[in-house]
């Protein structure tokens, strides 16, 4: 459906380009990375609306990219300045049913004929004088009153409403706009479930029902009102059901769940229903479905049900854009669909083996999202390794790993090879620490050799002679006496037994100790590697 998205100058996106997957796109990124702006941009170009309202009514100075605007203001001082503009371009698949939108009026070089739409916000030449006057005393807030919106398809014809051939469903579960709980998008979705003839029939019956109200129950009232001298020249006064288009049937109906009106249902329930309604339409009608943070308002169980449903309903011809902060959503819908958004940069995963995708689908609780979002990573075996590493890192650099953009993650018993594969595909710098468990480190390294390059990804394992796990390694490097003191345990207790039994407690006590800790050699090496 959408084969390429170009966003120029809209909010956080100064010059953004993305070639989405034909089916599922999972947009992830930190806060302010531009996930929502991207979804907005797609909706603007496809529907000419934002949040269900016409773009022209919603246009405001904050739509413009702040960097572009400040550069414009700077260049105003020098003289020649080009007014900031917004341009959102959607290239669509070259399918027969989209040919009405086909043409060469797009930014592709060399010229390329394909269907598509372009949405622009540009200075209105009719207000040239006003715009000129504004530059005398400019501010960071552009005079959008003198701008105009230009919405065209690639065939260079103006669009005034969503083209018939493009259909989009937008589900935003973050804020449920109230209109009897039925927002513009939901009404749109309900409408799309109906054939034109069905719509006409409903409309007609609704009018007739209202009309019979006027003749029936209201008749007695009208009889009495008729006696009242209300109007200026004695014409009789009466009331009738409002038959204007303001009160058409679609604003009067609301979905009910188990006889409870939609707006009274829980927010999670509302979101789930919207998603199911939007995706359950004829596959050939809804081309694009956009879901913002489906995990919101949902318990874990409900989310599992919803995700199963999304997976089942996703038709061949439907393209899904889902923004999420949930690792569960990400793993469940397939890591290979991940699009890591960071302002104008997009990282996609290519070449992830189907086995690895399947592996994480079966282990959806695992925090792959953290791996995706981190700048650099340290993978350790368990919580005690995590705590000790953080302490050692801080000792060396006087900063926490997090402050350096390094995320320390416990893998628990996850497959190291799978984690490394994912990191490699994401292009992450990663240090992996593991116990030798009495085996030769060289042998342990062998199975991971494919993913290690000593530059971006490296494995660190303690000497077998220094102990099989973290605790003996700490004892080896610090000595029993010192550790006994650091841990504050009784003189008759055996340090190795106590530490092995109370792993996490020992780690916390070490981390909080004011005394000097000697780092196990492999851990120090890992810290140095990842710090760079």
């Amino acid at each position: 459906m959408i084969t390429k998205i170009k966003v120029k100058g809209y909010r956080i996106h100064r010059d953004f380009e993305l070639e989405p997957n034909p089916r599922i796109n999972l947009l992830v990124g930190g806060n302010d990375a531009g996930k929502s702006s991207l979804m907005e941009a797609i909706a603007l170009a496809m529907t000419g609306r934002i949040g269900g309202r016409p773009a022209a009514e919603e246009l405001n100075p904050y739509w413009f990219n702040t960097a572009v605007v400040s550069e414009f203001l700077d260049s105003l001082l020098i003289g020649e300045a080009v007014w900031p503009t917004i341009e959102i371009e959607l290239f669509l698949q070259n399918r027969p049913d989209l040919q009405a939108l086909c043409g060469v009026h797009n930014s592709a070089i060399p010229a390329q004929a394909c269907p598509g739409v372009v949405f622009r916000v540009i200075p209105n030449p009719e207000y040239d004088a006003e715009l000129q006057a504004w530059t005398e005393n400019p501010s960071i807030l552009l005079p959008v009153e003198y701008y105009k919106i230009e919405w065209r398809h690639f065939g260079d014809s103006e669009l005034t409403r969503r083209p018939r051939d493009l259909s989009i469903a937008i589900i935003d579960s973050r804020t449920i706009r109230t209109f009897g709980g039925v927002d513009y998008h939901l009404r749109q979705i309900l409408n799309d479930h109906l054939e034109p003839s069905e719509k006409a029939l409903i409309s007609l019956e609704y009018r007739q029902a209202k009309s019979s109200m006027s003749d029936g129950a209201l008749a007695a009232l009208n009889q009495r009102l008729g006696q009242v001298e209300a109007s200026l020249d004695q014409q009789p006064l009466k009331v009738a059901m409002d038959q204007t288009s303001r009160t058409s049937w679609d604003s009067a109906v609301a979905p009910h769940i188990d006889n409870v009106p939609f707006s009274m249902a829980g927010q999670g329930q509302q979101a789930t229903i919207k998603i199911s309604l939007a995706m359950g339409r004829h596959a050939d009608r809804t081309n694009v479905v956009m879901i913002e943070e489906p995990e919101n308002h949902l318990s874990h169980t409900s989310m599992v049900i919803l995700l199963n449903r999304i997976e089942r309903l996703a038709g061949e011809e439907q393209q899904l854009f889902i923004s999420t902060h949930s690792t569960y959503v990400l793993n469940r819908l397939g890591l290979d669909s991940l699009m890591l958004i960071n302002r104008d940069a997009v990282t996609t995963i290519t070449g992830l083996t189907p086995e690895t995708v399947g592996y994480y689908k079966k282990l959806p609780g695992y925090d792959t999202l953290r791996m995706a979002l981190a700048d650099r990573l340290v993978l350790v075996e368990g919580p005690s390794d995590e705590i000790i590493f953080e302490r050692i890192f801080h000792d060396r650099y006087q900063m926490t790993p997090m402050a350096c953009g390094i995320d320390v993650l416990s893998m628990r018993s996850l497959s190291l090879a799978r984690c490394l594969e994912l990191c490699a595909r994401l292009g992450k710098r990663v240090a992996v620490l593991r116990d030798n468990d009495g085996q030769d480190p060289a042998a342990l390294r062998e199975s991971l050799e494919d993913w290690l390059d000593g530059e971006h990804r490296e494995l660190f394992i303690g000497d077998v002679d220094h102990g099989h796990t973290l605790e003996p390694q700490l004892i080896h490097h610090n000595g029993e006496a010192a550790l006994r003191d650091i841990l504050g345990i009784r003189a008759d207790a055996r340090v190795d037994v106590w530490m092995t039994r109370e792993k996490t407690e020992a780690a916390i006590r070490i981390a909080e100790s004011r005394q000097r800790i000697v780092a196990p050699a492999y851990m120090a090496a890992a810290a140095a590697f990842i710090h760079g």
Partner: protein, 356 residues
């Protein structure tokens, strides 16, 4: 691709045939009906709406609109990168020796109607199939009414459409080629007017086109039909027209009319008065319509102001040139019952005079 041409005489219900064809189609079939005159377009839309309702699968548009909307507008940058269609110049002509942009755009940036066919051809070639693919995706059939009015580069374009997946169905009457979509184009000049027939026949021989002849008129009475056949040089080989109009009135057929009787005649029969252009027939203050404008219309009776060539044709039997022959044919065949031609001296003409 199945391409058809129906060559028909005036009054043989060509347009009705198109409408019936549309009405018989499945509603899923997307049809574009192309016409050449505004009047025709309007009439067609109305008659279509009457017979098939406001179905969205049949669209009516003018030939130039088709070329702008589906050729020039979406694909212009293939020939002129960065340019857009910003207007249409119906009357203007480029300088005879203009090349490149100046050939196609007037100084204000509007496209010359006269060069639109050429531009459309260029765009089809430059788009490497994208243009025709788009058109094929939008329409299953293109119906061309008054196909005789195509000219110049339009023929070239037709040839390209014949090869597409779209079914092309045309109706026309070579005898009525009064309008030319490209007035000055020398391209395919050989096909102009009557020679169009030869072009169609070539296509037929190559198996690209099926031609069907319809020589029966429902409109003109037998006398008018017979006279209309005499307008053309027999060497052009048009088949004879057969009349199915069996209505008789007290005044049927073709008559000559002396100037002195014109007012009385108009008073008595209330004919539609036709003239070649605004400079003709100024001796009388009548409610004239120009020949070309009358195209497609039907009147019970018409009165025609003879032009110089028409007079010569009637008085000395000298054949008319293809152009004047076509316009005169259009004028004569508007009538159902009677045609009166204003001419004072009969020469060798055997047509009777109407007297009070």
């Amino acid at each position: 691709m199945a391409n058809h041409l129906t060559l028909a005489v005036a009054g043989s219900r060509k347009t009705q045939g198109l409408i019936e064809h549309c009405a018989a189609l499945a509603p899923t079939r997307r049809v574009l009906v192309v016409t050449f005159t505004q009047r025709n377009q309007h009439e067609l839309s109305e008659r279509l709406a009457k017979s098939i309702g406001l179905q969205t699968n049949v669209e009516v548009m003018g030939w130039y609109t088709l070329l702008i909307r589906h050729f020039a507008r979406p694909f212009l940058p293939f020939v002129f990168p960065g340019r857009r269609v910003q207007g249409f110049d119906y009357d203007g002509l480029p300088n005879r020796f203009a090349t490149n942009e100046e050939r196609f755009f007037n100084p204000a940036g509007a496209l010359y109607a006269a060069e639109l066919g050429k531009l459309a051809n260029l765009l089809v070639e430059q788009s490497q199939g994208a243009l025709l693919y788009r058109l094929e995706s939008l329409y299953d059939e293109i119906l061309v009414d008054e196909a005789q009015d195509l000219s110049g580069w339009d023929w070239e374009l037709l040839e390209k459409l014949f090869a597409s997946r779209i079914d092309i169905r045309m109706v026309g009457d070579i005898r009525q080629s009064v309008l030319s979509t490209s007035p000055r184009s020398r391209k395919n000049k050989q096909y102009a007017y009557a020679k169009a027939l030869a072009w169609f026949q070539t296509k037929q021989r190559r198996g690209e086109l099926e031609i069907e002849y319809r020589n029966t008129t429902w409109r003109c009475s037998p006398g008018i039909a017979r006279f209309s056949d005499t307008i053309f040089n027999p060497a052009w080989g048009f088949p004879e027209t057969e009349s199915l109009n069996e209505v008789t009135t007290d005044h049927d057929g073709v008559f000559l009319l002396a100037n002195r009787n014109v007012l009385a005649y108009v008073e008595r029969f209330r004919p539609q008065c036709l003239r070649v252009n605004v400079k003709s027939g100024t001796a009388f203050d009548l409610n004239y319509i120009n020949f070309k404008v009358a195209k497609g219309a039907t009147y019970e009776r018409v009165l025609i102001i003879a032009t110089g060539p028409i007079s010569t044709f009637l008085q000395r039997g000298k054949s008319l040139d293809p152009g004047p022959a076509a316009t005169f044919y259009v004028a004569v065949t508007r009538a159902q019952q009677s045609v009166a031609i204003v001419l004072d001296r009969p020469g060798q003409s055997l047509i009777p005079y109407w007297e009070q």
